[in-house]
Amino acid sequence: MIEIIFYGRGGMGAVTAGKILSNAAIISNNYPHVSTFPAFGTERRGAPVMAFCRISEKPIWIRSHIQKADYAIVLDETVFGDHVIARIKDKGALILNTHKCPEDVRKEYNIDPKKITVVTADLTQIAFDLKLTNRENQPIVNTSVLGVLTKSSLKIGIEDAKRAIINMFGEGPKTDLNIKAAEKAAENALVDEVKTV
């Protein structure tokens, strides 16, 4: 079972990201069992939110919040901090939406190179470049992040992610933009792997 936590802010689509990822997991045929849910609270726009996603080859029975994740995905850098790093398993990965490179993030937050892989991608910039924004002209990053995930050790390919995005939003120019963003994010992601030696 692989456990993933999404960090974001109310309205960014962290919960939807979890749902699309679940869809992609099922489409990939590698993870037939999924369970995705937010940490429910008093939801409001802009408040820090968390969404949990478990994908597995075997049925999932655990129903509690994810305490330690294989992947922590941060959609908004302003909610990132030590509390996020503390919730990543050994040999887990951090995926951060930032303009910084992984090495700088590692240095800044003192992340153990033997324990946590750091992946960064500037999803916000990609969204602005492609004009992938919502009505309030805010960047949409919850679909492009799936592109980054397909570059990880997850057995979910970019084609699975694309199909999941189409399933979610239907065919159309907006969906195409989302897919383009995912592809671009996959290309541009910077990875600093765990050093095993």
Binding site: F40, W61, R63, S64
Partner: protein, 417 residues
């Protein structure tokens, strides 16, 4: 072709209503139930449910009244609610059961106020224990979908004619997305033949008044003696007693047709065959316990789980068999019978009182008002119960244990008292 979808528990229940072709739906919104009826109203709006009437009402009491009336017209009906909304339905729930109407209703379980809470526990579902409904708990969204299908079949069986609840944990299932197989409508209709109602208010040639004042004694009428209130209630109790075999039969048929089984339709055992210690729980607590069983098995403890699916009628005979080898039963209740103990613990004790084999039963309260239940909490509970099982003083203690309290953090410290 059956379809695999990623759905929340609420939407899984809505798809089940679509599969069975419900005819009248009335509901009033309350978190976390609302999305189930919102989805059904989408189906009605889009024409996917062309023969369904969605009735908007101004309260939960009206919602259940509307579906009770529609059911008396011979329609297949559905409603859903949670917590305080369910409490507001209470009066008409008794009318639904008292009239033996085969309606199916979902409860997205939620803690009852006060204080105000929207998060899950099982208090609301247990608070309607004695209205006369069949009551079931589920552990996954697929089970929610399947149990709604089976419930219509059971409720509409002329040997039963009882309304049924399908309870799934608020948020933990109601808002959690899982993969759910949606079956073909045709196949579902084969499994669930059209409803044959026993009250026909639309039969204008033979008008009857339904549920008039029914005196304590029999009434002598031209058509013969008619039953008093007492006979109606006896009949309902017997209907519950014999519903158990119908529920088992339907579960078997469901497995043959759709290939999915939930234990025997009554309870779901997990690694229970050789278990000396058994956990007893329902819903989310039971599913969380599965991982706990695995962990403790790795530590060498012979432990298993009996996850109760059918809560009313309470399957006493089945439970006596299920627990006939266990030395210790640990019951985790996400509810309290205030002034007594956890409701499941109390009822299990009552069920096993006359059994040949009576294990020690130790109850704990967990996760009220949505407090996250972690595997560690449950493991601690089991270990505590194992440690104390031979301690007679502990067994005689009637004080109830709550697991996962955070009193220390509130400044209540034992060492400072």
């Amino acid at each position: 072709m059956p379809e695999r979808k990623v759905l929340t528990g609420n939407h899984a229940a809505a798809y089940a209503c679509k599969s069975v072709g419900v005819e009248v739906v009335a509901a009033y919104p309350i978190t976390p139930q609302s999305p189930v009826v919102e989805k059904i109203s989408e189906f009605v709006e889009s024409g996917e449910l062309p023969n369904t009437q969605f009735v908007t009402v101004e309260s939960e009491q009206s919602a259940i009244s509307a579906v009770v009336a529609a059911s008396q017209m011979g329609a297949r009906v559905f409603t859903a609610s949670s917590a305080n909304g369910l409490a507001y339905m209470y009066e008409i729930l008794c009318w639904a059961a008292g009239s033996r109407l085969p309606l199916v209703m979902c409860i997205a379980t939620r803690a009852l106020g006060a204080p105000w809470s929207v998060w899950t526990d099982h208090q609301d579902a247990f608070s309607v224990r004695d209205v006369g409904f069949i009551q079931q708990f589920v552990e996954s969204n697929q089970e929610a979908y399947d149990t709604v299908l089976m419930s219509y079949r059971v409720a509409e069986d002329p040997r039963v004619y009882l309304p049924a609840f399908v309870s799934y944990d608020g948020y933990i299932l109601s808002h959690t997305m899982m993969s759910v197989q949606i079956e073909d409508d045709d196949k579902v209709r084969e499994f669930l033949p059209p409803l044959k109602p026993h009250i026909h208010l639309t039969d204008f040639e033979n008008v009857h008044s339904v549920n008039p004042v029914t005196p304590p004694g029999l009434t002598v009428r031209p058509e013969g003696n008619t039953p008093g209130y007492y006979e109606f209630r006896y009949s309902m109790q017997k209907a519950h007693e014999y519903a158990i075999e119908v529920i088992e039969e339907v579960a078997k048929e469901f497995e043959t047709k759709f290939g999915r089984a939930y234990g025997n339709g009554i309870y779901k055992p997990y690694k229970a065959d050789d278990a000396e210690v058994l956990i007893f729980a329902v819903g989310s607590v039971a599913s969380e316990s599965r991982g706990v069983v695995d962990t403790l098995r790795d530590e060498g403890i012979k432990i298993g789980l009996i996850s109760l699916k059918l809560y009313r009628p309470f399957p006493i005979q089945h439970l006596r068999k299920a627990f006939n080898k266990a030395k210790l039963v640990v019951v985790f209740d996400r509810d309290v019978g205030y002034g007594m103990e956890g409701i499941l613990a109390a009822e299990l004790k009552s069920a096993l009182y006359a059994a040949d084999h009576r294990p020690i039963i130790r109850g704990f309260i967990v996760g009220l008002g949505g407090r996250d239940i972690t595997a560690d909490q449950l493991i601690n509970g089991v270990k505590k119960a194992i440690e104390e099982q031979d301690n007679r003083e502990v067994q005689l203690d009637t004080h109830v244990d709550f697991i996962g309290l955070q009193l220390n953090e509130l400044g209540f410290k034992k060492e400072e008292i």
